[in-house]
Amino acid sequence: MSERRPYLRPQPRTWWAHPPYRAYTIRELCGVALAIYAAILLAGLICLARGPQAFESYRAFLASPLSLVIHLALLVTTLWHMVTWFRILPKTMPKLVWRGKLVPQALMTNAATLVAVICSVGLLATAVVVGAWL
C-alpha cells in the first residue's frame, strides 16, 4: 500500500514584503503613485470646467507647501518607476539579433533610458521656452 501523503507548505502571506520580492513590490506601488498624479491633474481639469473660482482654489492648492511635498515625492517615485520599467523592458521584448549575435539586455535598457531622458529634457525645455514666449 502506498504511504504517499504529499505535504504542501503554504506560501508565506507576506512574501511581497521581503527580499528579493521587495524591489518588485516597490516598482508596482510606484504605479499607484502615477495614478495619484493622474487624479491630481484630473481634479485640475474638473476645477477648470467648474469656473474661474474653482480653478483659482486649485491653483492655490498647487502652490501650497503640502502640494510641493506631494509633487516632489511623486517625482521621485515616477523617476524610480521609469528606471525600473526600463530595467525589465528587455524581458518583455523579443530577443534582438544583430548580425548573427544577440543584443545584450543591458544595452537595450541603457538605450531606452537615454531616449526617455532626452525626450523628457526636450519636453521640459519646450515647455519653458513656450511658457516664456507666451
Binding site: 504511504e3 504517499r4 501523503r5 504529499p6 505535504y7 504542501l8 507548505r9 506560501q11 512574501w15 511581497w16 528579493p20 520580492y21 518588485y24 508596482e28 525589465i88 528587455p90 524581458k91 518583455t92 521584448m93 523579443p94 530577443k95 539579433v97 548580425r99 548573427g100 549575435k101 544577440l102
Partner: protein, 251 residues
Amino acid sequence: MSDTKPKTIELRILRYCPSKDAKPAFGSFDVPYTDDMSVLQGLQEIKATLDGSLAFRWSCRMAVCGSCGMMINGTPKLACNTFLRDLAPGPVAIEPLQNFPIERDLVVTVGDFVKKIESIYPYVMPKVPKTIEEGTYLQTPGQMEEYASFADCINCMLCYAACPQFGANPDFIGPGAMALLQRYSSDSRDGGQQKRLDQIRGEDGVWSCTAVGICSEVCPKLVDPANAVNQNKSKSALDFFLSGLRKESVS
C-alpha cells in the same frame, strides 16, 4: 603548523516522513566539510554516516541534470553548485523547493510540472514536412541565437520555487514550461506557434505572470524564463484580438 581539526558546519534540514510525521520539522546535523565540498556532498555525507533515511534527489553533480534543486537559506539553488565554504559558519537552512508538495524530506512532487511541459508540444513541428530525400531543415547561427538560451533549460524547477504567482496559483503554467515553449515557437524551422498559443490563454496560461522577474535571477543556466513568459503575453494578446479574423472561427 596546519590546523588538523576538521571544520564542521550545521545543516538544518526540513524533514518529512509521510508515514510518521503529521507535518515537516527541522532536523539538525553537524557535518565535517572541506573547502571543495558542495551542499550535495554534505547531504551525501549525512546519508552515508549520520542518517541513512535522509531522502533527496541527485544525479550528475555538475549542474546539468537539474535534479538537486532545493531551498538553501531560503533561496532556490542547485545543491551541487552551491558550496559549503560560501555558507560557513552556518547554520544552513535546507528545505525542499517552495511551492511544491513534499513527498519526503527534500523530495517534491514533479508530476504537474511534467504535465505542463507535455502540454506545450515540446518538439519542432515543421511548417512543411520534408522527406528524407529532400534533405535537412537548415538554420543560420543568427536564427539559432533567437532560441538558444531557452534550449539550455535543465528542468530544475528553481524558477517555479521562486515564482510567487505559481505559489498563489499552482495551475499557472509557470516560467520553466514557458521557456520550453519559447524554445520551440521561436525556432525558424517550427510551425506550431498557433497550437502552443492555444495552450497558454487565460489565468492558467501566461496571464498569471506579473513580471516579478525573480525566476530569471535564480536560473542556474541563464535561460531567462521571464523573457519567455513576457514575450508570450504580447503574442497571446495579439492572438486574442486576431482570433475573430481567423478562418477556423468563421463557422
